[in-house]
Amino acid sequence: MISLDGISKVIDGRIILSDISFEAEKGKILCVLGPSGAGKTTLLRILAFLERQSSGQYYFDGEAVDFNNLDTLKYRITMVFQKPILFNTSVFENVAFGLEARGMKREDIKRIVGENIEMVGMQRYETESALKLSGGEGQRIALARAFAIRPDVLLLDEPTANLDPANVSLVEDIIKRFNDSGSTIIIATHNIPQAERLSDKILFLLDGKAEDFLEKEHFFTTDKEKTRAFLEGRMVY
């Protein structure tokens, strides 16, 4: 589905990502795991076409991504940010945004928005102002908005970092249900138990480098010193 070949990113002479290569398979959940400052968000931003890599190649469905011509690709991938970013309008209009951008008919938009708001359990709030929602509610609406456009690839940047345990479990459940519908999901997280609960595969990032890229079962039993140190909480960062 998505593959990176030797991607690096340098900002103001500082190396943020160095020679990252991996492949995200269709319909699977890939967790990009690593401590704060490892480069996870930058990696997701490149995957979402929000930033260009300094070097290396990004492939989507086997085709090299041309950042100057994203006409069709931009509809196939979307990103949900760590802090829920909602437009200053109603919950309904927020969820409808991506569908309107695709020129969908109003009656189809109404139906799809309704389904997705229900999926995240927020049907009571449809006409409310989105900015009045709590952090957990806002994140659920941000997810509903992303799900509504049925992206081939969904990028989630620390989707539960600011949420209480009840909302964490709710959001994780929503992510799994969305994955069941066949979408590829890439989650950036520093939360080891979350990566264990959600992922099929794990890419372990440290100081901008890919230290490990393994199936979940193998990742948690690896002998690699840096990975073990991170998993066992011996890594100071």
Binding site: A48, F49, L50, K74, Y75, I77, T78, M79, F81, K83, I85, F87, N88, T89, F97, G98, E100, A101, R102, L131, R145, A146, I149
Partner: protein, 232 residues
């Protein structure tokens, strides 16, 4: 009797009796300021958005010039328009001097930089993450601009109201370009100046009360807007 008390009595009499001259002056003031702000909005908002979205050589200079023009002395604008529209000026043949159109031009020149500048700063104030979310959801360039306009709407409305407040209370520029001709180009501010000079305090106070009330309404509206913006 104290001229202030006498003036106030006369003023209320003029307002309550809907004195034709007071009404004509008030109507013309709102017509001229309203039209100039409307045109200023139609030009200033796209200009502000263009400056916010486009990077080009000399952009900083353009923004600095616009900021300078936001504080243009009205009499200088009046003089400039007068010279352009006077019989020997380049637009003399249009015969616009001492007409409401000349006054609209003066106020328009003052409104455009205000609307442009406040629109620019409001659009720049929209969080980068809002724009990125819109892009990530597949927004086209036009849709992205509409998103920013919507997010910055309270600031942009403030720009419109501020420029209306500046226009309706302006005196020097429109006096030079409009000539303060009775029943033709006399507006609230120029009429207050004339009435005071002639010692017609009742008329001056009546027009002053209307101006003050307008300023009060403008500020009331601005405050409500700001409160809505804060409680977002």
């Amino acid at each position: 009797m104290n001229p202030i008390i006498e003036g106030l009595e006369k003023a209320f009499e003029l307002i309550i009796s809907l004195d034709p001259e007071v009404m004509s002056i008030t109507f013309l003031s709102f017509q001229i300021s309203g039209l100039s702000v409307l045109l200023g909005t139609l030009i200033g908002i796209p200009l502000g958005m263009f400056l916010s979205f486009r990077d080009f050589f000399g952009k900083r200079l353009v923004v600095t010039i616009n900021s300078t023009f936001m504080g243009l002395p009205p009499v200088v604008v009046g003089l400039f328009v007068y010279l352009l529209l006077s019989r020997s000026g380049p637009f003399g043949p249009l015969q616009l001097l001492y007409t409401p159109s000349a006054m609209i031009i003066v106020q328009l020149i003052m409104a455009i930089p205000i609307v442009t500048g406040i629109t620019l700063s409001s659009a720049n104030g929209v969080e980068k993450s809002i724009k990125e979310t819109a892009i990530s959801l597949g927004a086209s360039r036009i849709r992205l601009i509409l998103v920013v306009l919507r997010e910055a709407r309270f600031g942009i409305l403030t720009a419109v109201i501020t420029s209306f407040g500046a226009a309706i209370s302006e005196v020097g520029g429109i006096m030079i370009a409009g000539g303060d001709i009775r029943w033709h180009t006399r507006v609230l501010t120029t009429a207050v100046v004339l009435a005071t000079r002639k010692g017609e305090y009742g008329m001056a106070i009546a027009l002053g009360i209307i101006l003050l009330f307008t300023a009060f309404l403008v500020n009331l509206f601005l405050n409500r807007l700001q409160q809505r913006g804060v409680s977002r």
